[in-house]
């Protein structure tokens, strides 16, 4: 009997009814993880997980996460557990503290099964740049198409039916895009709603902690658990916590939803457009008002370069601590401390990461800031201002997640300056620019290969966003997807 393609709520009910035990779930998850054909794991915590699961005997009715197996992207600090960020420069780093979200899950007695692969240091969207090599898409046994990144291992683990919940991080679209390729719910909350303490930073002003689940309700419960003020993260919000599941099923009668015309116009795949249109129809039937509105295309074209400059600039600074002195490899350097740093960093980072650091560093030089970093910060402001103007009228913005259902490893976009690439494949970063709550959820299957669309709302309106997403999920009936189910 296999349990782990179920969602959290279903598993919780089985646990409470004692039809299954945490140890049975952890054992199944570990077995599946060990057989994982997609290279989703940096570390499998067999001993720790089973030992902990054994201690969980009496079910906690009011604690949804009691005994639930989960995985965490390997850029969350886990005390006494190797944490690599899928980079050689951290390949033997064992943290001395837990990230706040890890701590909260531990306190809720969720069972950490393993740490998952990512694009090196979370800087990438292909799932190919981690130090253990490519992570594959469970829906593609031939390994031709990406699961996306940077939270590739977390997406693959949930889609592969190993766990019902995975922690990820999202700086540009690193949860919400792989969610599409893996047919999952991918959630990124309002900036500051979930503590980032213990998340290895990529670009703090854009970084968000989020997660993958198999249903919108699971996402709402997960947010309930992980949200809240954390004094270890000075940017975490003082606003009171809400129960995000409350009223989630109250429907969307009268709500106003905007589709940005230039973005939908830059998507050309018929299967995506058809599915999208069908959901728009469904949303209207459910009582929502859906308008297709104009948006400045110059600003949409600015998203990608703006993102590149800001994220690379912040990243080059955040990763300056990786110098081989306090942690990380000492490769040599007998003569000077510079040599120690130089050797560790030259061998420790892949060439792609180094190029990004150079771009970031160059953008910050005094003579260049005005044209690069500060200009990107201005563009970010303008984009966010215009998006927030949309929210003066609309409750949410609704868009496809991706321009192509499948993204091949070889022979993908040749023209990275085309609007299909620049706009349709990169617009999710708007949610990071404005710190907006944003959710991806499945809307279609193309020959047993899933794809998502995305809903984004005004900052701090996570609860309303989840309610709209819940309504959309009802319309599509695409819930609880996993490879076994879909392929069957």
């Amino acid at each position: 009997m296999s349990y782990l393609d179920k969602n959290i709520v279903e598993l919780h009910n089985l646990l409470v009814e004692k039809k299954v035990t945490p140890l049975m779930l952890a054992t199944e998850a570990i077995e599946k993880a060990k057989k994982d054909p997609n290279n989703a794991f940096e570390t499998i915590l067999e001993k720790e997980a089973l030992e902990f699961a054994k201690t969980l005997v009496e079910p906690e009715k009011d604690n949804l996460f009691w005994g639930i197996p989960y995985v965490a992207k390997d850029n969350f600090s886990t005390k006494d557990i190797l944490t690599t960020a899928s980079s050689n420069i951290l390949k033997d780093y064992v943290p001395v503290f837990d990230a706040t979200v890890i701590k909260k899950l531990k306190e809720a007695k969720a069972v950490l099964i393993g740490k998952t692969t990512l694009d090196e240091l979370a800087m990438g969207g292909t799932g190919t740049t981690g130090h253990l090599g490519t992570t594959y898409n469970p829906y593609d046994p031939e390994h031709k198409y990406m699961v996306g990144g940077s939270s590739c291992g977390s997406a693959a683990a949930v889609a592969g039916g190993i766990v019902p919940f995975a922690l990820g991080s999202d700086t540009g679209d690193s949860i919400r895009k792989p969610a599409s390729y893996a047919g999952l719910v991918g959630y990124k909350p309002t900036w500051g709603k979930i503590s980032r303490y213990g998340l290895f930073p990529f670009a703090p002003s854009l970084d968000h902690v989020g997660f993958f689940t198999r249903s919108v309700l699971d996402a709402a419960y997960s947010l309930n658990l992980l949200q809240g003020k954390d004094y270890n993260d000075s940017t975490s919000s003082f606003l009171p916590n809400e129960d995000n599941t409350e009223d989630i099923d109250k429907g969307i009668e009268g709500m106003k939803i905007a589709v940005l015309k230039p973005i939908i116009n830059s998507v050309h795949e018929k299967v995506i457009l058809d599915a999208f249109d069908k959901t728009v129809e469904g949303l209207r039937k459910a009582g929502a008002i859906v308008d297709y509105i104009d948006f400045d295309e110059d600003l949409l074209n600015a998203i990608y370069p703006t993102y590149m400059v800001i994220s690379c600039a912040e990243a080059t600074s955040n990763n300056a601590n990786l110098d081989g002195i306090k942690f990380g490899p000492r490769i040599g350097g007998e003569n000077t401390y510079q040599e120690v740093m130089m050797k560790a960093r030259t061998a420790g980072f892949s060439e792609l990461i180094k190029r990004r650091f150079v771009i970031g560093s160059y953008s910050l030089f005094k003579d260049n800031q005005k044209y690069l970093f500060l200009r990107a910060q201005k563009a970010r402001h303008m984009i966010v201002r215009k998006i927030n103007e949309v929210f003066e009228t609309y409750d949410a913005i609704y868009l496809p997640c991706v321009a192509k259902v499948r993204n091949p490893f070889e022979g993908g976009y040749s023209d990275k300056l085309s609007s299909t690439y620049l706009v349709a494949e990169n617009h999710l970063a708007i949610g990071n620019f404005g710190g907006l709550p944003s959710i991806s959820l499945p809307i279609g299957l193309d020959n047993k290969f899933p794809f998502d669309s995305n809903l984004t709302a005004k900052a701090h309106e996570d609860k309303k966003l989840l309610r709209i997403a819940y309504a959309l999920e009802k319309i599509t009936s695409l819930k609880d997807l996993s490879v076994e189910k879909v392929v069957k």
């Binding site: 600090s77 503290f97 401390y337 910050l364």
Partner: protein
């Protein structure tokens, strides 16, 4: 040709808080290496800064004492560079928006009072400590993250004396405001000096030389005077001053080259995204300023109003600890003049003789005041008082009890003293004749005889007065 020196000074002050600037690690000096460290100090991935309230309060006290404009919104920036002692690869500082700007201090030089403008004061964090051994260096992260303020003067200082007075004034302010212990030798207060020469009257700047690691006030003055002379000699002989960093060699008493300045380092400043801006309310700022203890200038005004001369007051204010003792003893009801005499006289010489500081002084203000009172009242003579004092420094015993124990009671009985004086005069008729002939020391001799006869217990003032009266009557 006449040259004028253009000198600017950057002072780093370590703030005395219980925890560090952005982490809650204990902030203290002298612990075992790497025992005052939390994850942020090691720059472990995922750690985030948390700004210390007391550090802000303390910075505000200094900002206020330096008459600066206060920024009500705190923003921080990252200063990015790689160095062995910099754990994160950047330092969190305030580049664009320092908490204070455009202030000044007034210093008293041998040429009168001079106002030195101060460009900015900003908060930042210290680096880790390096121990340089013969063949390798060791890193101790206890110091990493210690709260600092950096105070940057405008280049309005013209010579070594002014520089020394300026640093002394800043040091006095941070000590009296309880922001720092100001110990230059331990690195709690560090100053870097920029100095260039230009022809007198010119308004262009010459090539700047930086002098680092000046660990005492006198070295500040000596280093600058030497450097001015060095640069002047170069310029007069037609040579160029090189842009370089130098340090002061204490044994040679001269500045020596550390390194030539190559390209200026580009620190790639940008706003720290992990610290959201903090708004300081008027109330918060006012409370911070109000919490500042009395500064030396304010104490000076108070002491002079109470009757001390300015030089006398400065003699006390020269040591913060002495001032604290002075104030506590004043509070117990000591007369200011009497206290000043006692502290700068007997107490100072006792401390000096025994190589002690006022902090190690055993006598409590209470007991010091009662000793002063029994002397003033005439219950004991001054020499008797001194004997009591010599006992008090051992165990801080009550002087009244000691007086009993030592059997020291001054005789101030008018009749007994009169009798003693009359006896002494009767026994020494020659002295009366001498006095009449204008030999004043005869008076002293007679007083001495009375004191001897009374075994030192007679009140000397009364004896002297009585003898004089008797002599004048003869």
């Amino acid at each position: 040709m006449n040259f004028e020196a253009v000198i600017g000074i950057e002072i780093h002050v370590e703030m005395k808080t219980k925890s560090k600037m952005f982490s809650a690690s204990p902030n203290r000096f002298g612990a075992l290496p790497n025992t005052l460290v939390t994850p942020l100090d090691m720059a472990f991935p995922g750690t985030m800064p948390r700004l210390n309230k007391q550090a802000v309060i303390k910075a505000l006290r200094v900002v206020n004492a330096l008459h600066m404009e206060i920024d009500h919104d705190l923003y921080f920036d990252r200063k990015n560079y790689f160095y062995a002692d910099l754990p994160k690869g950047y330092q969190i500082t305030q580049d664009k928006r320092p908490i204070g700007k455009n202030g000044y201090v007034e210093i008293e030089t041998s040429h009168g009072v001079k106002r030195i403008s101060i460009e900015r004061l900003h908060m930042e964090e210290d680096t880790c400590k390096q121990l340089h051994l013969a063949s390798y260096s060791l890193l101790d992260y206890n110091r990493a993250g210690t709260p600092l303020v950096e105070i940057v003067s405008r280049p309005e200082i013209r010579n070594g004396e002014e520089a020394m007075k300026y640093v002394a004034k800043i040091r006095e302010i941070v000590i009296y405001s309880l922001v720092s212990d100001g110990k230059m030798e331990e690195g709690s207060l560090r100053c870097d000096v920029n100095i260039s020469l230009r022809p007198a009257g010119s308004d262009v700047f010459g090539t700047k030389v930086e002098i680092k690691n000046l660990n005492s006030l006198s070295n500040v003055q000596k280093a600058i005077d030497f450097e001015m002379h060095r640069q002047e000699k170069l310029l007069l002989s037609g040579q160029k001053v090189e842009q370089e960093t130098r340090r002061f060699d204490e044994t040679k008493k001269e500045t020596v080259l550390m390194r030539k300045k190559t390209d200026a380092v580009d620190y790639k400043y940008f706003t720290e995204p992990n610290l959201v801006p903090v708004h300081l309310s008027d109330e918060f700022i006012n409370d911070a300023i109000a919490s500042c203890p009395e500064l030396a200038d304010e104490k000076l005004a108070r002491y002079t109003k109470m009757g001390l001369g300015k030089e006398e007051a400065l003699q006390i204010l020269d040591s913060y600890d002495m001032t604290m003792y002075f104030d506590k003893t004043l509070d117990k009801g000591a007369s200011i003049k009497g206290l000043w005499n006692f502290l700068t006289g007997d107490v100072a010489s006792y401390l000096k003789k025994n190589n002690l500081t006022i902090k190690e002084f055993n006598v409590s203000p209470d007991h010091l005041v009662s000793l002063m009172k029994i002397i003033e009242k005439g219950d004991v003579s001054y020499p008797q008082g001194r004997k009591i004092f010599e006992e008090m420094v051992k165990n801080d015993e009550d002087p009244l009890i000691l007086q009993e124990k030592l059997g020291l009671k001054q005789n101030s009985n008018q009749d007994e003293i009169l009798t003693l004086c009359q006896t002494a005069m009767k026994n020494n008729p020659q002295s009366i004749i001498d006095y009449k002939n204008g030999k004043d020391r005869a008076l002293g001799f007679l007083v001495g005889q009375v004191m001897k006869a009374s075994k030192g217990k007679a009140n000397p003032q009364m004896v002297s007065k009585t003898i004089k009266e008797l002599l004048d009557k003869e």
